[in-house]
């Protein structure tokens, strides 16, 4: 039996209201028709290149987008819609964010107090991550990169979160440190948390995650099982295949063209201009996700 779905996002779109010359208003769509779900005890990697809207997804779930953002679509937490009011109550508790860098800690506050005002609880969580309790008395600028990573993890663990959203937790880390960080998230998932891991390092994520949602220009083109990345044939979407081929050990072959920018997105399938399977159907309308071999794909021609 599959575990219960902790978070499901369907048909999500995020756009920013902007004022151009004069008072002309336009909406810049940065996320469109996005679908993901994550279950208890599972790590879902959200992978995609820079600018594909990964961090915005995290901010949209947590309800901390700037005021000029317009969010549409359905976000459900444990089956119930995650309204603004509900998320305001849950964030920092059941739903936790693990940010990406030291910049996310107050530079003038000792880290112990930032993790939690409850000193004994902090000590317990620090012990879990092999941090001395004296670390709590340090300021963020006094921590090493590895310590910082563990402190940031501690902020999520201390609240007993059921849903953890980790936003690019590994860039700039050595292979060894990154592996250790991934292992921390794997442990949290094994203990029953649902983890969304936002990353652009697919290669690293493959070893620790259950499923991978592939992002392209603000939408999910495919959600594949981690094991599907064993060979190109198991993958479904042409972009995922292109991504697979671009991984160094799989040939390191790039695909022509670049990801379109928000504001100049093509109609229909966003990948169509670079796609080798492109057909007439691809040019019109959003493509609903289809289930193929245990994964989801948004492509008319995927098989």
């Amino acid at each position: 039996m599959e575990n219960e779905v902790v978070l499901s996002v369907s048909g999500l779109s995020v756009s920013f209201r902007m004022y151009t010359k004069g008072l002309e208003r336009r909406e810049l769509k940065v996320i469109s028709n996005l679908n993901i779900n994550v279950r208890k005890g599972e790590i879902l990697a959200v992978a995609g290149s820079s600018g594909s809207g990964k961090s915005l997804l995290a901010h949209a779930i947590l309800g901390i987008l700037p005021k000029n953002a317009v969010v549409e679509g359905d976000i459900r937490y444990l089956g119930e819609p995650l309204t603004k009011k509900r998320v305001a109550k849950l964030r920092g508790g059941e739903i936790a964010l693990v940010p990406q860098s030291v910049e996310y800690l107050d530079p003038l506050m000792k880290v112990g107090r930032q993790v939690s005002p409850d000193e004994s609880a902090v000590e317990k969580v620090f012990a879990r991550y092999k941090l001395d309790k004296s670390v709590g008395k340090l300021f963020p600028f006094q921590l090493s990169g590895g310590m910082m990573r563990r402190v940031l993890c501690a902020t999520a663990v201390i609240s007993g979160a059921k849903l953890i959203i980790a936003d690019e937790p590994t860039p700039g880390m050595s292979k060894e440190l990154a592996d250790r960080a991934m292992k921390h998230f794997r442990d949290l998932a094994n203990e029953g948390a649902a983890v969304i891991l936002i990353t652009h390092d697919i290669d690293l994520a493959l070893g620790y995650t259950d499923r991978i949602a592939v992002f392209y220009a603000g939408t999910t083109v495919e959600t594949a099982l981690a094991s599907d990345f064993d060979s190109e044939d198991k993958l479904r979407h042409p972009y995922t295949k292109a991504l697979w081929r671009a991984i160094p050990k799989n040939g390191f072959r790039p695909t022509e063209g670049t990801q379109p920018y928000a504001g100049s997105l093509p109609d229909g399938c966003l990948f169509a201009p670079r796609c080798e399977l492109k057909g007439e159907k691809c040019a019109c309308g959003a493509i609903e996700p289809r289930n193929i071999r245990g994964g989801e794909v948004c492509c008319h021609y995927a098989a």
Binding site: L97, E103, D106
Partner: protein, 326 residues
């Protein structure tokens, strides 16, 4: 501990060298000025014979080489002898003492007012960044920044003293009341207008700088993370905002000691407030060289103290800034 002693001794060396430098420059300027100290001294007693003038010049060493005169003056200063004021006919050190007490009350009132209200209004603007309240108050602050002190002092006098009659026209105590009979309340009433005038400039400065910093802090990643962890806007301001935005306000406040001193010269003249500022301008206008030099040296120490306090506070507020950059 040894580090503290080291940094304190560094400050002592700095203030001593600064005093020597300023005293040399001031001495040179006075020597070059057209003021003849002899003439200035005997102005009040006409009819002194040529012979007596020559004897007094000999006695004072007016015609000695400048270096010798400077050393003589310097060693007198070291012994606490700042000379006798020509206008007040009292020792300079005594005048500075009594006058500074009055000025300190004035400056302190202005300083606290501009610090507390400037900071609070800056916070308010920062919280309402971009909204009508912010843009209106910001404009008011910008106007306040550009208004000269002497002008606003006159406006205050006209409006609050002449038209409304809420405050006295000037002085630090009511006219015709013996000093021992003056109440605290009367002193405060005399203090309010000059203090407001003096605080006008730095008030807006503190508010605008605090606003900028708060807007920056509120857009920072750590505030975003704090919100992601369920902190409310008010808690964000209290827990993360205040300490992070304190630095510019502290810098403004303590480096404004020099502006306070300069401003007090103007404010005290407008309100006939008998403080150090009024004494300084009187000394300048009436060629009272001992008093002028004494006040100059005193103001050097005063401004230096302000900057030194600011430096010490930085380390307390922001542990990343330590002496020596370690």
């Amino acid at each position: 501990m040894s580090r503290k002693i080291k940094s304190i001794s560094i400050y002592l060396v700095r203030v001593v060298t600064l005093l020597i430098a300023v005293s040399v420059i001031c001495f040179a300027l006075v020597s070059l000025s057209p003021i003849d100290p002899m003439l200035a001294y005997i102005q009040a007693n006409p009819g002194v014979s040529e012979e007596n003038i020559a004897r007094m010049e000999e006695f004072w060493g007016v015609n000695d080489p400048p270096a010798e005169r400077y050393l003589k003056w310097g060693s007198a200063l070291l012994h606490g002898d700042f000379g006798v004021s020509k206008i007040f006919r009292r020792p300079v050190i005594e005048i500075i003492g009594t006058r500074f007490a009055a000025t300190l009350a004035l400056m302190l009132a202005a300083w606290i007012f501009s610090g507390v209200f400037g900071f609070a209004i800056g916070c308010l603007m920062g919280m309402f960044n971009g909204r009508p309240l912010d843009s209106v108050v910001k404009r008011i602050c910008l106007i306040m920044c550009s208004v000269p002190t002497f002008w606003i002092g006159l406006v205050f006098l006209i409006v609050f003293s002449v038209w409304l009659g809420w405050f006295p026209f000037g002085m630090s105590v009511p006219v015709g009341v013996a000093p021992e009979n003056v109440t605290i309340l009367q002193r405060l009433r005399h203090l309010i207008l000059p203090a407001l005038t003096l605080s006008f400039l730095s008030f807006a400065n503190v508010a605008l700088h605090t606003r900028e910093k708060l807007v920056e802090v509120l857009h920072s990643d750590y505030v975003l993370f704090a919100k992601a962890r369920g902190e409310s806007n008010l808690s964000v301001l209290r827990r993360h905002g205040l300490r992070n935005i304190l630095i510019p306000a502290v810098t403004m406040q303590f480096s404004s000691f020099s502006e306070l001193f300069g401003g007090s010269v103007i404010a005290e003249n407008i309100f006939s407030y008998p403080g150090l500022g009024a004494a300084a301008s009187a000394a300048g206008l009436q060629s009272d060289i001992p008093l002028l030099l004494g006040i100059t040296l005193f103001s050097v120490v005063f401004v230096f103290a302000g900057n030194a306090i600011a430096n010490a506070l930085y380390v307390l507020i922001d542990p990343r800034t330590t002496e020596g950059g370690k």
